[in-house]
């Protein structure tokens, strides 16, 4: 095998594996999006289908409601889409008797019981089939009368061809395959938003997220600048302390923080969801790492010109650190938007005034357990905005994740 061929095979193999994993990563999101557009009954169909579907109906003159379409095998053996006009018709499957006196299962016909009559008139005619006496019916087949026995009784529907209303057929409705088409029910989203104060939760989450992002940027930029460029006693020890806090799991703080909120009176209120998150060691660290890469000479020149520290920060450092700011904003956005544990602790279930999306989803999960379409529409409302923000800012976000990873 030539070198070129090996390389092509290798590339194809890589693409196959990567695409397979991409499918695994994306499939749950596709399930979410498509299920959120289904009707509740459609979600429970088996085998599961990705696309939301519904049965096609037709309007025919003489019928006051739309008629559902099914694929029906007509007498000629063709399969045609036909409209169901009448249900629950009691029919029998009739078979003639062969020379040996047994029912001939290859020549069966389907007739309503109203269309046939018992043979023999006043004294009903019976034959013995399989050790049992069964009645014999006179059935019209192609204009001739034949004597037949009932094989089975069942319930059928009557179908007509919408293109040619004279063509009719009988078939079992439940065993017939419905004619379906792909559809979408975006009104599920409106239903979720109007349910359980989801609209309020959306507003609250947006507000919390935006205020947290702005607040964290302010504290992190100021703190990062102080750590990067200003010498003051205790700076390096304090910075080490800040770094050490990354190790502390949030659950260690949750009880004292909750009690602090009780003391201040912020339980069940929005400030509890914003103010404790305005400080982050991570953001301070990120901004500091970025600021120390800015050349010192520019700052020194500005200082000699009499600029204050504040104006140096505003005019030199902030304009130069747009990528770091975008990263910090994205990180904070994702964190604030997705947080669940802290709101769960500090906001009571059922309190809609201070509810956030993740809490509303938790409530929705309990209340709408029979409508997965609504639950997943709610999940989509919670998942789509962060995804859009990530895709917009992903260049900087991913780069920053990677650089912090390599540096440790």
């Amino acid at each position: 095998m030539s070198y070129r061929a090996t390389r092509i095979i290798r590339a194809v193999l890589i693409y196959v594996i990567l695409t397979l994993f991409a499918a695994i990563m994306l499939f749950p999101f596709l399930v979410m999006l498509f299920t959120s557009l289904k009707t509740a009954s459609d979600t429970f169909s088996y085998p599961p289908r990705l696309l939301p579907t519904e049965q096609v109906t037709v309007e025919l003159p003489g019928f006051d409601r739309p008629l559902p379409l099914y694929y029906i095998v007509v007498e000629s053996g063709e399969t045609k889409p036909m409209a169901l006009v009448e249900e629950n018709i009691r029919v029998g499957i009739f078979a003639p008797l062969d020379a040996a006196g047994r029912p001939d299962v290859n020549n069966t016909v389907i007739r309503r019981f109203g269309e046939v009559k018992v043979a023999g008139g006043a004294t009903p005619k019976e034959v013995v089939v399989g050790g049992q006496a069964v009645p014999v019916y006179e059935v019209e087949v192609n204009g001739a009368i034949a004597e037949m026995v009932v094989l089975t009784r069942t319930v059928f529907g009557r179908f007509i061809n919408p293109a040619n209303p004279n063509e009719t057929a009988m078939a079992n409705v439940r065993l017939s395959q419905p004619v379906t088409r792909v559809t979408a029910h975006p009104e599920n989203y409106a239903a979720v938003v109007n349910l359980l104060g989801f609209d309020r939760a959306l507003t609250n989450t947006a507000m919390i997220t935006i205020l947290t992002v702005i607040g964290q940027i302010v504290t992190s930029v100021l703190g990062g600048y102080a750590f990067a460029r200003l010498k003051f006693p205790g700076r390096d020890q304090l910075f080490l302390l800040y770094l050490g806090t990354v190790m502390v799991p949030f659950v260690v703080l949750i009880i004292p923080l909750y009690q602090l909120m009780v003391v201040i009176g912020w339980v069940n209120a929005m400030p509890a969801l914003i103010l404790p998150w305005l400080y982050t060691a991570y953001g301070t660290f990120l901004m500091r790492q970025f600021f120390i890469t800015i050349p010192k000479e520019i700052e020194e020149a500005a200082l000699i010109d009499g600029a204050s520290r504040w104006s140096i920060l505003m005019r030199i450092f902030i304009p130069a650190s747009a990528p770091a700011l975008a990263t910090l904003a994205t990180f904070t956005f994702l964190y604030a938007w997705n947080s669940f544990f802290w709101p769960l602790v500090v906001v009571n279930t059922g309190n809609t005034r201070a509810q956030v999306l993740t809490l509303a989803l938790n409530v929705l999960r309990g209340r709408a357990s029979d409508s997965p379409n609504l639950i997943l529409a709610g999940a989509a409302i919670a998942i789509i905005p962060p995804t859009i923000v990530f895709i917009l800012a992903q260049r900087y976000y991913v780069e920053s994740v990677t650089s912090s990873g390599v540096k440790g």
């Binding site: 703190g223 190790m247 009880i255 912020w266 301070t284 005034r353 938790n362």
Partner: protein
């Protein structure tokens, strides 16, 4: 010239007068603060931690104020620093207190009331976000001035529109009314803030700095603390303070309300209290072998023909510990090993790799709650996709190979044997992309020359992977392992959603964090819950240290 020489002494006299005012102010402030500290102690009905802390802070500030007064008299530059610090702290306290008294913080709730009707708000937010995204392009090519101005104008319009529609203006207009209705406190705080602000300005001025003999380095120090102060305030109030308080609470039996007695190590003792009892027969009832008033049966073990019964005072703690460790042991490899494989493939420099990288990353930005709901639906045992895929695969294998494998029909989240595994799979799926990107970044820092040298030496791709890639990737691997482990040991959102907060079915998904939540916020045993939190902290710390040490031993010291 003449005017300058005559102006100078009068200027100096003014500076001296300002410093005298500051001295008097600090002396008065010292008395005021001492009185405040005593009043705080006297007025409290019981000496709780908060009262003591408040009194101590006031006493310390009084001490600082007195020292500042003495040092200002001697024109020592430390006096300036101290004066600024004391005044600044009190100034902030006044402002925050004022905001609290006037209900500015709770005003956020009212803001949310009106925001629902404010589409302009959303537009304003979009402008802000859009501006940030546009600004990120600054680094490579500057945004044209016209566009930048337009962005600023749009942002301003958005902000004004939001302020008008979301009721910010009437809210601000209602503040004077609150002064009238809430008595003296807001007025006193405002007056305090104004006086303190004046004192700050008076000392901060260049003239005072010169008079006090302060140099550039001193003002740099002050600037440092000033810039850090918002951050430090958050750090103290919402991190360091609560952390210490949490340790204290873990030694009490706090029920979140009135009872808060010091119980020493009793919480920890109860958590780790185990009993091992020999059994006469393997199926002997537990109440014959141990005191079932205290202990619950944990498990039975057969050692060298002798059966033992192991009981625990807090059975749920041990179960949650086991579940958390099992979760970590399964989820971490599942989220790390495929990530390494994917990163190696993504590093192949073929076109389109960026798109794959973005796609893999998406799960890690989605809300865990939403992801758990999606997976819960896919795990549905009757109509879920996972069982459908398994059934299809089994049918395919049976029809192709003529085998007769039975469809397992796993009930996933409803089956206590599989529930934890289900959560492991969903979590690993969510963490995989993040780790892939980290590994990819690590791989891209490995110099290509190493691979070229290895190829010259005749190493095949497999040998290159094990002898070049893995050792060079060690720092990244360590970072990935540590972050994933920390995340795994704290798992909460997923198990809360899929088990409805119970840790069920049975106790199969009861993790340490969930157990802590149940103890602290459902049974309100907050003292015990704090102790659980510290044990979790120690477990996480131990794991991190263990991985760090092992890695260091394997690859020698390196700079982390």
């Amino acid at each position: 010239m003449i005017s300058a020489t005559t102006a100078l002494p009068s200027g100096r006299r003014r500076d001296r007068a300002a410093l005298t005012v500051l001295t008097v102010w600090h002396a008065a402030l010292c008395v005021l603060l001492m009185a405040g500290a005593l009043a705080t102690l006297a007025s409290a009905s019981a000496l709780d931690l908060l009262t003591i802390a408040l009194a101590v802070v006031q006493a310390l500030l009084a001490l600082g104020s007195a020292t500042a007064a003495a040092l200002i008299l001697r024109r020592n530059h430390l006096g300036r620093t101290l004066s600024l610090v004391v005044n600044y702290v009190l100034f902030l306290a006044c402002l925050i207190g004022l905001a609290h008294v006037l209900g500015l913080f709770m005003g956020l709730d009212d803001l949310a009331d009106y925001m629902a009707r404010g589409v302009p708000f959303l537009m304003g937010a979009l402008f802000i976000v859009g501006y940030f995204v546009a600004a990120t392009e600054l680094r490579e090519r500057p945004v044209p001035v016209a566009r930048r101005t337009l962005g600023q104008v749009l942002m301003t319009i958005g902000a004004i529109g939001f302020a008008l529609t979301a009721g910010v203006v009437p809210a601000l207009a209602s503040i004077p009314g609150k002064y009238v209705s809430s008595g003296l406190l807001p007025l006193a705080l405002t007056a305090g803030a104004v006086v303190l602000g004046y004192m700050l300005w008076s000392m901060w001025r260049g003239e005072s700095a010169r008079a006090m003999g302060a140099k550039n380095i001193h003002s740099e120090r002050l600037n440092g603390w000033l810039f850090l102060s918002p951050n430090l305030l958050g750090f103290t109030l919402f991190f360091a303070g609560p952390l210490l308080f949490s340790l204290y609470v873990s030694f009490t039996n706090w029920d979140s309300f009135n009872k808060r007695d010091w119980v020493g190590l009793d919480n920890y003792r109860r958590m780790f209290n185990l009993t091992v009892q020999p059994l006469a027969a393997p199926d002997q009832p537990a109440n014959q072998a141990m005191d079932v008033q205290v202990y619950d049966e944990l498990f039975r073990v057969n050692l060298l023909g002798q059966s033992y019964l192991i009981g625990a005072e807090d059975k749920r703690f041990w179960i949650s510990l086991r579940n958390t460790l099992v979760f970590g042991l399964l989820a971490v490899p599942l989220a790390v090993v495929p990530a390494l494989l994917l990163a190696t493939l993504l590093n192949s420099r073929l076109p389109g790799m960026r798109i794959y990288r973005t796609l893999y990353f998406i799960p890690s930005v989605a809300a865990v709650v939403g992801v758990a709901l999606i997976w819960q639906w896919m795990y549905n045992s009757q109509v879920g996709w996972i069982n459908y895929f398994i059934t299809s695969a089994v049918n395919l294998i049976n029809s192709v190979f003529g085998t007769n494998i039975k469809d397992p029909q796993i009930r996933w989240l409803a089956d206590s044997d599989y529930a934890l595994l289900s959560v492991v799979i969903m979590s690993a799926w969510q963490w995989l992309g993040f780790n892939t990107v980290l590994f990819l970044a690590g791989l891209q820092t490995i110099p290509r020359e190493l691979y070229e040298a290895a190829t010259v030496d005749g190493a095949n791709p497999r040998q290159q992977f094990f002898n070049v890639t893995l050792p060079m990737l060690a720092p990244t691997t360590l970072y990935v392992l540590i972050t994933t482990t920390i995340q795994a040991l704290q798992v909460f959102d997923q198990v809360f959603i899929v088990s409805n907060g119970t840790g069920g079915p049975g106790t199969s998904t009861l993790t340490m964090t969930l157990n802590l939540y149940q103890n602290g916020f459902q049974s309100f045993r907050q003292g015990y819950a704090s102790a659980l939190a510290w044990v979790l902290f120690v477990v996480i710390f131990a794991f991190t240290l263990f991985q760090f040490r092992r890695q260091r031993r394997a690859s020698g010291a390196y700079d982390l």
